[in-house]
């Protein structure tokens, strides 16, 4: 792999204005700028015709092909756009005579979790957790686990706020070994479970994602009593208090399905809203309303398909 270093440098810094043309299908994409970089490849904003899209390119043919497989499989999950829509797959013969694999997908506009919560406040926590769990339930039911679920792989698109998945490289068939993970969100790293793909693996990461919003610098893993440390970190955050019991159960792997966690979360949200409405009014009400609207919407979409 050290051998690949020189090529890698080139594929991670394609100058804007470069035309990438597919070797097999011949479609051409104009590179605008780099928008992300991961273990597998580099993502660029690109243009074809009048359309803007995201283009991921890498010399790792096998990993790229697996990602494409996943994106194709997600398309078939009942009437839902779980990942970004896949538009094209091809190879590019670069000027350095190396062949790279690329795929083109829908460009998702949005802000990061951190940005969103800084701007909109913690009152959106419950709603976004419910949304994320809703999507995960669909994914799990289709036989997949997200795997590398982390803040970097999520965006919040606007009006109304909706969590979108932007990188599905870690998506793994249930029962297999998790394909890709990030230590901080990985229950194996924390000594709190295996790396076998099962719904509870994702639910652990969900808890960490919402904890991380309040600890952007993260924190170190202790040698012992690791669950205790995570519990303490949750307890210290006032905004997380209503959800603490649910988050703790997710961390210790008590939920076997996403729906189960979502149900308990909704119970907490609605009972809390009823109390807070009489006291403070506005914020709580609007959040409950969004969740109500969102629930109706998801019922409607599931009826349609």
């Amino acid at each position: 792999m050290a051998m690949n270093r020189a090529w890698k440098k080139q594929v991670t810094s394609i100058p804007s204005g470069t035309q990438i043309q597919g070797k097999f299908k011949g479609n051409s994409y104009l590179i605008k700028r780099k928008i992300g970089e991961g273990a597998i490849g580099t993502v660029y904003l690109c243009q074809f015709g009048k359309q803007t899209a995201a283009l991921k390119i890498s010399e790792k043919q096998t990993s790229m092909t697996l990602e494409v497989n996943v994106l194709k499989a997600l398309k078939q999950v009942r009437g839902n756009l779980l990942g970004p829509a896949l538009l094209d797959v091809d190879d590019w013969l670069a000027p350095n005579r190396q062949t790279y694999t690329f795929y083109v997908m829908e460009y998702v506009h949005g802000e990061s979790m951190q940005q969103f919560f800084r701007k909109n406040g913690a009152s959106w926590l419950g709603l976004l957790m419910v949304q994320l769990l809703e999507d995960l339930e669909k994914l799990h039911k289709a036989g997949w686990v997200f795997g590398d679920l982390k803040t970097d792989n999520l965006l919040i698109s606007q009006a109304p706020p909706k969590i979108r998945w932007i990188d599905v490289g870690g998506v793994t068939q249930i029962g297999r070994a998790i394909k890709e993970y990030t230590e901080f969100y990985d229950r194996g790293y924390w000594g709190l479970g295996s790396r076998r793909a099962e719904p509870s693996y994702d639910l652990f990461s969900v808890a960490i994602i919402f904890l991380e919003i309040f600890y952007p610098q993260r924190f170190a893993r202790p040698e012992t009593k690791r669950a205790n440390l995570l519990f303490k970190k949750i307890d210290k955050v006032k905004a997380l208090q209503p959800y603490a019991p649910v988050l703790k159960k997710a961390i210790t792997g008590k939920y076997t399905t996403s729906a189960e966690m979502q149900r308990e979360l909704k119970q907490i949200i609605f009972s809390r809203k009823n109390q807070s409405r009489s006291k403070t009014g506005k914020i709580g009400l609007s959040e409950a309303m969004w969740i109500f609207l969102f629930s109706i919407l998801s019922i409607l979409t599931s009826l349609c398909f």
Partner: protein, 246 residues
């Protein structure tokens, strides 16, 4: 295709050998025997990736049919499991490619297929990687300069076992360190399916200035051979993937 056992030697070192035969030649010998040699070069903070003396790392892996990676000790955990899995997939893909050649003709490679069509083949490789049995002999350089890196190595190996044991296939690990006392290598841990017990047995640093990487690799190959022999006597099963081309 018959499912067999993949065999790997994982060499963890921080510098160049200075005693005995050329390790790259020995690695080629291992590859001949159907054993892949992966090498992880652990960098010091004052070194960079182009550091002189670590070229050997790449050479050994290249002739051992494996994967090499240079890394700072903090990133060791992810690297160790990435290298192991990547080498597994490459070996398996090699087998699949050979089968493909028989089906598609001599000059057809996976790269020549349209990306859309590669999907199914890659899926077969992925499935094999999930279910195939794996034996890893970890060969650990314990010369003096590794001193402050051993804690990270230990954590990385425990982590490797967590990752591989999430697969459906069986795993067996053994750990040897080098240089040994009056020997080229020293057994640290006998073949075992899990590595979470290594804390108590983890090797101490050996003093002395020699790094006999070549002779250590030769011993490692011999350890595989010995085990294969023992096993076939005990259980009468065939060792490895020989029939698919090695």
């Amino acid at each position: 295709m018959k499912k067999g056992t993949l065999r790997q030697i994982l060499l963890l070192t921080d510098g160049c050998s200075n005693y005995g035969e050329d390790p790259a030649a020995t690695a080629a010998l291992a590859f001949e025997q159907g054993i892949t040699v992966n090498v992880i070069g652990i960098l010091d903070h004052d070194e960079n990736e182009d550091s002189h003396g670590l070229e050997e790392v790449e050479d050994i892996a290249l002739s051992g049919g494996g994967v090499s990676q240079l890394v700072y000790s903090e990133a060791l955990s992810q690297t160790v499991q990435m290298v192991t899995k990547q080498a597994m997939n490459e070996t398996l893909q090699g087998f699949v490619n050979q089968e493909l050649k028989q089906i598609l003709g001599k000059d057809q490679r996976l790269e020549d297929l349209e990306p859309e069509k590669r999907g199914e083949i890659i899926e077969v490789v992925e499935e094999l990687g999930e279910t195939t049995d794996l034996e890893v002999l970890i060969l650990l350089d314990t010369s003096a300069s590794m001193h402050h890196k051993l804690q990270m190595v230990k954590e990385a190996l425990i982590d490797l076992s967590i990752s591989l044991n999430a697969r459906a296939g069986k795993n067996r690990f053994t750990i040897y360190s080098f240089p040994g006392k009056r020997k080229n290598i020293q057994k640290v841990l006998d073949w075992t399916p899990k590595l979470d017990s290594i804390s108590s047995v983890f090797p101490k640093i050996t003093s002395g200035g020699i790094t006999p990487t070549g002779p250590a690799l030769r011993e490692a190959i011999y350890q595989f051979g010995k085990k294969g022999l023992l096993r076939s006597i005990r259980h009468g099963d065939e060792p490895g993937l020989e029939e698919t081309g090695y």
